[in-house]
């Protein structure tokens, strides 16, 4: 069976300033430590289901760092999928929220114990609720982009999904609705391509050479990038977001990423040996170019691992939602 392939090898010198490189690295480590703790919680019985994004940090962290974070059409809307803890942490969310969602506590800030891990939702940061169906966000995203186009300013809509979801009609809807000649929309359409749909290999399902080619047919500038390289991700996302902000038109990125722990707990949530580990690769480069020592990186990893363990212990003692809370928030006036 096929596995993700790097578009180009990570051998070019690191092009970003040291401070930025260290910030990206820090967030990637923090995200990885969070995801590993979530998996551990699941395996220890402190959660019913795990799904997340270890292997996508090199793409998701720069995305979150580059977003214009706030509430309302002046800021960026994120219609995410469930592998984006890196994006959420990058714009300042505390990891304990994700742990609370895993433990389905009443304190879970994203759903109050109602939804799976990785199903983030934050109105105050324009993060639309993540939904388990893998494609619906592609149909919803043009709506916020329409509001932003009319509103003016430089806020944009960002929608992300996996390659498997592009088989659904909602993906086509997104391309069609974003490029109506009467009203092209300020939307960054992203597909993170890990070449898998649960256990279905992408090569068995996708006839097109690159998913990005489908966007080209709609006249959308489109690129396939190495999402395992945080520098390339950062630079390509920056270019793409600047284009969308200024031109008020769509842009398309297909990011080739890894799926380090399989689809979810349904497939065991065990480390997959033959996937590229973006964090490991990035650390080798940071060390090689003298930005960090191995010891510094190990210390950072240990610190975050300990932080997550402490947070998980705290979460374990927090209350579950009360049974009668099922009747709350069916309608908005119940707020």
């Amino acid at each position: 069976m096929s596995r993700p392939r790097l578009i180009k090898e990570a051998s070019a010198p690191l092009q970003l300033e040291k401070e930025l490189l260290l910030r990206i690295h820090d967030l990637m480590v923090k995200t990885r430590a969070l995801e590993e703790r979530l998996i551990q919680m699941y395996k220890q019985g402190h959660g019913y289901f795990w799904i997340g994004g270890p292997g996508e940090e090199a793409f998701n962290v720069p995305l979150g760092m580059l977003m214009k974070v706030g509430q309302g059409p002046d800021y960026d809307y994120l219609h995410a999928h469930y592998r984006q803890s890196g994006t959420i942490l990058a714009f300042g969310e505390e990891p304990i929220g994700a742990l609370r969602q895993m433990k389905n506590t009443a304190t879970d800030p994203y759903s109050g114990g109602r939804n799976f891990a990785g199903h983030f939702s934050l109105k105050k940061y324009n993060v639309a609720p993540v939904s388990s169906p893998i494609e619906v966000q592609y149909a919803v995203a043009p709506g916020t982009a329409m509001v932003q186009k009319r509103h003016g300013g430089d806020g944009i809509t960002i929608v992300t999904g996996g390659d498997a979801g592009t088989a659904e009609g909602d993906f086509a809807s997104c391309l069609v609705w974003s490029t109506r000649p009467a009203n092209p929309l300020p939307i960054l359409i992203i597909v993170t391509n890990n070449k898998w749909g649960i256990s279905t290999a992408g090569d068995d399902q996708h006839g097109e050479k690159h998913i990005a080619d489908r966007a080209k047919a709609f006249g959308i500038p489109a690129k396939t990038i190495n999402g395992n390289d945080p520098i390339e991700s950062y630079n390509e996302l920056k270019t793409a977001m600047e284009y969308v902000r200024k031109e008020r038109k769509p842009y398309f990125i297909e990011a080739m990423v890894s799926r380090l722990y399989g689809h979810s707990s349904a497939s065991g949530a065990n480390l997959v040996g033959n996937e590229v580990d973006c964090l490991k690769q990035f650390e080798e480069r940071l060390e090689q170019e003298g930005h960090m020592t191995r010891q510094q990186m190990d210390e950072l990893r240990n610190r975050y691992t300990e932080d997550m363990a402490a947070a998980a212990r705290q979460v374990r003692d927090e209350p579950q939602p009360s049974p009668d809370s099922i009747w709350k928030h069916i309608y908005a006036e119940d707020k």
């Binding site: 109602r114 149909a139 043009p142 709506g143 609705w177």
Partner: protein, 351 residues
Amino acid sequence: MANMAQAIRMALHYAEENLGVTDIFGEDVGMPLGGVFTCTQGLKTTWNSPLDERGIIGAAMGIAMGGGRPVAEIQFCDYVYNTIDLLKLAGNTCWSTNGDWNMPMVVRTPVGSGIRGSIYHSHSFDATMTHIPGWKVVMPSTPLDAYGLLITACKEQNPVMFLEPKALLRVKGEERIPGEPDDDRQLSKMIDAPLGDRTQWKAQWPALQEYAVPFGKGKLVREGNQVTVVSYGRTLPLCAKAAATLADEGISTEVIDLRSLWPYDWEMIKASVQKTGRVLFVNEDTEVTNFGEHLMRRTVEELFYSLLAAPKLLAGKFIPGIGLADSLEMASVPQQNDITDAIRKLAAEQP
């Protein structure tokens, strides 16, 4: 008096002028057609969407999340099935986010038989829609109620499914919309788009007033003390007519127009059934897992000892579609005679 299509148009005009409606859209909703049933002619925020129902519902959700107030149309309810998981998502968004996000959006779609629409233009959607929690679901049977319910819908913070009984869209009301001119021809000249070239045409809107029908409140259409009939949409006027006919035979029938299916006016049904002891639920959706079945279950559970006869449901046949031939359509969904017969039998039934 205005017909229901005109009433809907006037409510939407009122809503875009006064209630912050930002987008009225769907297939053929904008100019030149203004809706296949003319419900959206002359409005200022209308636009034509791609022929993509999932895109329409998805965009409405996104517009609502972005702070807009959309009124989306699915041209016939038969095509809304394509969007069922998005409807589920819109309905669960407030709940699943623990009250963080809400969805102030209205979806309008014509439902039911009566225009010889064949298999894909005749179905009902009340049974399916009332099965999706988080939505409010309404279906008017008069132009004034259509106006009042749509105004309420456009003020909601929650998703509202506004079901339009297509057989009644061209039927004139018996009550005036507040602000509507007395003369029907004058109203038509003002707000009905002319045939042919409409590029220069603009509606002349009457000075409409707000009139909001609250959700969850039924309407007592006719008082009676022997049989209660609960209906909505196309079958409601048939029930009212049957009650009038049966009054001549000495049968006293109380008729309730539910208007609002979720939430619904249980208190009105309960008070009536406690008075009459006999109840018939009438609608035209297919009869298996019909919304009327829910009402029957509740009637049996809560009002069993008030009943003088078993509650009855008269609904559409459980068949895959409504055939084009007149004989097929008439046999598939309740008609005037079916309703009259059912009330007569129920009135005569003895414990």
